[in-house]
Amino acid sequence: MMKWSNLKYLILRRFVQLSLLFLYFAGNYWGWTVLQGDLSSSVLFGSVPLSDPFAVLQILATGAMLGTNVLIGAVIIVLFYGIIGGRAFCSWVCPVNMVTDLAAWLRRKLYIDKIERKIWVTRNLRYYMVVLALIVSAISGLAAFEIVSPITILNRGVIFGFGAGSGLLVAIFLFDLFVLKNGWCGHICPLGGVHSIIGKRSLIRVKHNSDNCTLCMKCKEVCPEVQVLGMIGKRSEFVSRQECTNCGRCVDVCDDDALDFHIRNLIASKESK
């Protein structure tokens, strides 16, 4: 029933996510120097620093001075996602994506989507959360999101051992399953908000070809940020909204060759508008 080609990007993404977690784990457990540290700040091949730009921003908001390594690391990450990857961090790197994807998959399989009372929450909440996190960091003198972030809790859990913080992951899973569809990653997570802003102008994007589209709406069913697929069946164009995580699920499930990854020509797209 299920074709392998319908799982291509999903499998690739899980492979990347799990490989990164494994490399982080190995960096601590066996002392491998491929990838050390964690998603907040790492060292690649024992020399290249990589840092979470949002964590750096929060630390700066506390009014603290920072070492150059962590700043260089943040710049590298911003450039990589800003030019190439878009919001790919959320779907290709972040380990919480696996938790919330599981919840979203279960929602579909158990028809919770069809039965539940709908709660409407603005998807812009994440941007308010970014601002709030920076304000709270400035007030409290502690990077505010970093003390509650399920991302770093899961990431550190894999590397250094799980603790009581794992409860937060269960809570997010249940929240996504029973309270709000795509609740955490699609509405609340401020790191997703920051990566949306960073990846706004990235080159790699999904492109829709409406000539091939049969309006089966499978893409809209699986898309975690369904508002970005407004053009389906209407216009042939790039999925250009910044909240698209480049997860490629829509490309996977499309049986009509109407969606695929392309490199966006920013200059041309501006002229056409």
Partner: protein, 283 residues
């Protein structure tokens, strides 16, 4: 028509201000809850940090919780068990939610694994943010890292439960100290209780002790009678106005002291206080 007449008319202006109040209210609510939790999460005054950590307040601001220090600690070559080829547990742990320490920050518990004060201090140079500041352990004269400049805390002896103060000969902490006879010295004293024995009392030199915790780990009593506390907790502060007599350096300090005492001058100051008695002045 009648139904519509009953509804209060909502003007654009009212809608705008209500929306504004709505967003501001939710924002303030969120900020208060969040900041309240952050304030609670910050408070862990008994935490022992890695060597060269900035002062706690600054450390909490700058630590990005990457764990590179803990990884450098556990994977240092000296820590590999020769029999199994696997590293022994590292000193530095990354705080979990159940630890009484800000989540994700590095700390250590001497009774579990103390700090072995490696000569190359591997945990410090790997810090990307500078919350472990290499300057704090760099000797300004040689320009090299110096374990004597480490400062994680201060060992404190509980003289009631330390059996050396009972007259039992025990020098476990003295011998475990990496700075033997510097950070912990043995003070010989006469045991006046028995009248025929000696005391060998361990005494910590607060200037030499780095707070590595090897003494606490080595202590033989059921609950260690010597233990490491952050300096801020372990030390009192006499204030600038007490002078150590017959001490040239401290007397020097007083003569150099800038007087910041506040003197109040008011109407009453014009009169000599003696005149209160001599002339029966009323104040």
């Amino acid at each position: 028509m009648s139904n519509e007449a009953k509804k209060p008319r909502i003007s654009e202006r009212r809608r705008f201000f209500t929306d504004l109040a709505h967003h501001a209210g939710l924002g303030v609510m969120g900020a208060l809850l969040w900041a309240g939790y952050a304030q609670k999460a910050k408070s862990s005054p008994l935490t022992l940090r890695p060597p060269a950590a900035l002062e706690e307040e600054e450390f909490l601001k700058t630590c990005i919780k990457c764990g590179l220090c803990a990884e450098a600690c556990v994977n240092r070559p000296q820590n590999i068990d020769k029999e199994t080829g696997r590293p022994r547990p590292g000193t530095l742990k990354m705080a979990k939610a159940q630890d009484d320490v800000t989540i994700g920050t590095p700390f250590f518990i001497p009774t579990e694994v103390p700090c072995y004060m490696c000569d190359d201090i591997p945990c410090v140079p790997v810090c990307p943010t500078g919350s472990l500041d290499i300057k704090k352990v760099t000797n300004p004269e040689t320009g090299e890292m110096d374990i004597r400049m480490m400062d994680m805390g201060l060992a404190v002896v509980d003289q009631n439960s330390c059996i050396a103060f009972w007259g039992i000969q025990c020098d476990a902490c003295y011998r475990a100290c990496p700075l033997m006879d510097e950070a912990i010295k043995l003070e010989y004293d006469r045991n006046s209780r028995t009248g025929k024995h000696a005391f060998l009392k361990p005494v910590v030199d607060m200037n030499a002790c780095t707070g590595c915790g090897l003494c606490e780990k080595a202590c033989v009593t059921e609950k260690p009678a010597i233990f490491v506390l952050p300096r801020k907790i372990a030390l009192g502060k006499p204030g600038a106005h007490y002078v150590k007599g017959w001490d040239k350096k401290d007397q020097q300090r007083v003569s150099e002291r800038v007087n910041t005492d506040v003197t109040t001058h008011d109407e009453r100051s014009k009169e000599n206080p003696m005149d209160y008695l001599n002339k029966g002045l009323e104040f």
